[in-house]
């Protein structure tokens, strides 16, 4: 078996090989573009690919290396950006028809930082419309598919990003996570996904779904890759008033220090007390917890008693914020505008533009959020949800008195069949029960693959950290990864197989 191309390995290995001159950035980028060309028609992971610009960026890295210039930490690494994040010169769709024809004038802060670090930007990945969904099926451009089984969903909303990284259509990806949108697709596609602490990463240039919950984060093959990528994109940004002022510590420095003495909290509500948890998922998670214990960690039972309220709380707060965040898509200044008909007033323009431009799930959430904030209902719904959010936050605060990280399944189930829950949105919402609380409490959390389900589909372990303690979280994740190993999906059937059998 010949060596894999660097792009099929980790981001860190790829960056190292390019920096050492073992392979050119152009070769790596071309390989990634070739795989996209071959597999994307089936996987539908990318909504936009700009080969020419990507190759240009790659060649610039190669020239810089030859000229002896100092290379950035991601020099020459081909990465993708979720199509909720602005990249100058590339269309921005947010997975919606309503942004038709819109190209942003500026890079998001995270993209600017990717460029400065030398990354090659391949294109924009598929997502649920405005990041509203857990299966990628609400995308206006059709769902991305899971490389482990293309009849299955990749998860969502960052489904295209997860599918791309898992299938090697790029080495790493930026996703966004409002209620699990990085961690759940990472789990369902067998990769690593990190949702940073709220305020760790700038949201400037990121299309807002629910502003108090949204965070950008890395989706990668390895935990070290996630650390490297967060190191690049994270840290203060004066352009985002909610971005924390604290500088990031060196996230890779202590990755290999192990977990001896680490107190790992195991929330009752995520395992024994969880409804609808697939026993096979449970057994992979248990095995990973045992392995952590075997490495010297202490397992501590904890309770998060308000977990049962997270779903309702999340869907009130997130939709309330979304109802305002999505008001700007009105057909007046940018994006899609309906055909004017004789006698149309401004309200007709709004109603038809939005009626035609938004999909069902987005409309459902705008309606929910508008209702939650309406006169006479605001106290009972939105205000109460804000008070419960505080209780959920306090549950975690109590847990930190006895533990350093928390662990449990990322998703109660493995990747489900495309179309399985499209008619039952509530059942789909329930899939996110383990990930939502983290966003409500603003905590960092990581999903790490812990092996395969008997169905041959990946299972993810979710680790939750203290606010702004991504370093400990990543150290624990690296230990889990060392035991469970990374996962490699089967080659997508109709892809041109470049590897010898």
């Amino acid at each position: 078996m010949t060596a894999l191309l660097p792009h099929e390995q980790s981001l860190t290995a790829c960056a190292q090989a390019i920096a050492a001159g073992e392979v050119t950035a152009e070769t790596v980028t071309r390989a990634a573009l070739d795989r996209i060309e071959a597999q994307n028609p089936l996987l539908n992971a990318y909504l936009h690919v700009d080969s020419a610009v990507a190759l240009q960026q790659a060649r610039a890295v190669d020239l810089a290396r030859v000229a002896g210039k100092e290379l950035g930490p991601l020099a020459g690494v081909p990465v993708s950006v979720k199509d909720l994040i602005a990249v100058q010169g590339m269309p921005l769709t947010a997975g919606s028809r309503i942004l038709q024809g819109y190209t942003p004038p500026r890079d998001a802060t995270v993209v600017e930082r990717l460029r400065t670090a030398g990354a090659v930007l391949l294109g924009k990945t598929n997502l649920d419309e405005f990041a509203m969904g857990s299966s990628n099926e609400s995308s206006a451009f059709g769902p991305a598919r899971n490389p482990w089984n293309t009849q299955r969903v990749p998860g969502g909303s960052s489904g295209g990003a997860a599918a791309a990284v898992a299938a090697g259509l790029g080495v790493a990806a930026l996703g966004t996570d409002t209620g699990g949108s990085i961690r759940q697709p990472a789990a369902l596609c067998g990769i690593v996904g990190l949702k940073p602490s709220y305020g760790r990463v700038s949201r400037l240039g990121v299309v807002a779904y629910a502003s108090s919950l949204d965070q950008v984060g890395p989706m990668t093959r390895t935990v070290r890759d996630a650390a490297r990528l967060l190191q690049v994109i994270g840290g203060p940004d004066p352009g985002d008033a909610t971005c924390d002022l604290r500088a990031l510590p060196d996230l890779e420095a202590n990755l290999d220090q192990g977990v001896a003495g680490l107190r790992v909290g195991v929330p009752h509500e995520f395992l024994d007390g969880a409804e609808g948890l697939d026993p096979a998922v449970r057994s992979r998670v248990d095995a990973a917890l045992q392995a952590l214990q075997g490495r010297g960690a202490t397992l501590v039972p904890v309770a998060l008693p308000h977990t049962r309220h997270t779903l309702a709380t999340y869907y009130l707060i997130a939709t309330a914020e979304a109802s305002a965040n999505l008001a700007r898509y009105d057909g007046v200044r940018f994006g899609r505008r309906t055909e004017a008909r004789p006698g149309d007033g401004i309200d007709d323009l709004y109603a038809r533009t939005r009626g035609e431009g938004f999909g069902t799930e987005v409309k459902r959430r705008i309606l929910l959020g508008t209702f939650a904030l309406s006169a006479g209902y605001r106290d009972a719904w939105y205000e109460k949800a804000c008070r419960v959010r505080r209780l959920i936050h306090d549950d975690f605060e109590r847990a930190w008195q006895t533990c350093d990280v928390l662990a449990g399944p990322t998703s109660p189930v493995v990747a489900w069949k495309l179309g399985e829950f499209v008619q039952d949105p509530l059942a789909m919402y329930l899939m996110d029960v383990f990930t939502l609380g983290v966003n409500l409490a603003g905590l960092p959390a990581l999903s790490v693959p812990v092996g395969l389900h008997p169905d041959g589909l990946p299972v993810g372990l979710q680790l939750i950290g203290r606010p702004f303690d991504e370093a400990t979280l990543l150290r624990a994740g690296a230990t889990v990864e060392a035991d469970a190993g990374t996962l490699e999906p089967p080659e997508t059937p109709d892809a041109s197989d470049r590897r010898p059998a």
Binding site: I85, A86, P104, G205, S212, A241, A320, A327, R328, L373
Partner: protein, 492 residues
Amino acid sequence: MSASEAARWQAVIGLEVHAQLRTSTKIFCSCPTSFGAAPNTHVCPVCLGLPGALPVLNRAAVQLAVRTGLAVGCTIAPRSVFARKNYFYPDLPKGYQISQAELPVCLDGHLDLELPGATTDSPTLQRHARIQRIHLEEDAGKSIHGEGGAQTSAIDLNRAGTPLIEIVGHPDLRSADEAVAYLKELRAILLCLGVCDGNMEEGSLRCDANVSVHRPGEPLGTRCEIKNVNSFKSLRDAIAYEIDRQVGLLNDGQRVVQQTRLWSQERGRTEAMRSKEEAHDYRYFPDPDLPALVIDPGEVEILRLGLPELPAARRARLRAEQGVTAQAAAWLVEEPERLRAFQAGVQGGAGEPAAWATFLMTQAIAALTRSSRAFAEVTTAARELARICDKWRTGGLSNRMLNDVLTQGFAGEEPLFAALQTALTGVGEVVSDTAALEATVDQVLAGLGPQVEKYRSGQVQLFGFFVGQVMRVLDGKGDAQAVNAILRRRLG
């Protein structure tokens, strides 16, 4: 309606005043705030509401809001919260306005109004008008409908994101005059603080009036909110109209419907715009893009120490220390430039500040109004104007000569101060030589035998006629006091 019927009703009025803050950049981005630029040239992703744009608060706007709050006796909230006010309108790019709702930056202030008394110089009536709150918010853009006969509307977003404060008054005012006095006082404070340029025509200062009527002792009536009031005159007219309208309805046995009404200056009436049922549900909630606004008490104290002398104190000092009349003091303090012109005249040697103030308010402004000059020239020519005032006051210029000097000076092409000097030289000297005046008087009286007879037989009101005749012969340049004295002697 008879006067006695009208008297049974008491009007209750509260004003909501929006003031654009004089920051150099907008409240949530770094675009300039200047007025009059080409449409949509002072815009960026934040003021256009582009996807992914985020607001960052301009602390200079906060300071101006706090200064205003301190000047009207408000408590400054150590922590206040920005909220989204949701509604769709084409000139509101985000579909919501960032404002403050439950937790505004300033709370509980007041204005003590001095209302014109029975005579011009007795400001004895007082009204303690409470201010409920002052909050910070962003302005919207402007819609321009069907310009040049076009079927389309255009949007200019230059104004979008301009910082505003909204000053919400309690319904403590009882008449249109009180409402005007309230707005004038507030405007004078904003100008004195340098917080707002106070230009109501350009919309830098805007006012909505809530008006209801009730019988004293009974619960308050149903109120209407009147919008589109953009001058003191329209405020007075709109409120007076609205009070009449509501009293008329009630006297006819009808009821007042709660609604928003637009004032039409052309038609001289308020017109229904939307009813309570059609009112927006703004669905306020805290803006998750902006952390709570925390203001350090130390910063508040520094701003308090930096407050200038406020209009009420300034007026009191003008009256007490310089003897300026209440009316002139009020006039001077209304606009900082008037006060500057007054002070320039005093520094330039005005002999009697009180007389100079009145001269500035009446003669100088009358001449300015007839001319095409700007007020700024009055300030630069204050020394010359004060000198002319003194000369006139001490008899060195007759009324006629004063009028000639001012008219010629203000009409001239040169800078005002030079034109006034030229006119003053050209007008010559007053005729005060006693012998010459006596000769003129005798000559005039000799030709007016019958009138002199009538005067001496008791028609003393003819005295002014004799003065006029003498002055006519003297080409208006006679020393009025001397002429009077000689006439009295000759006729006596």
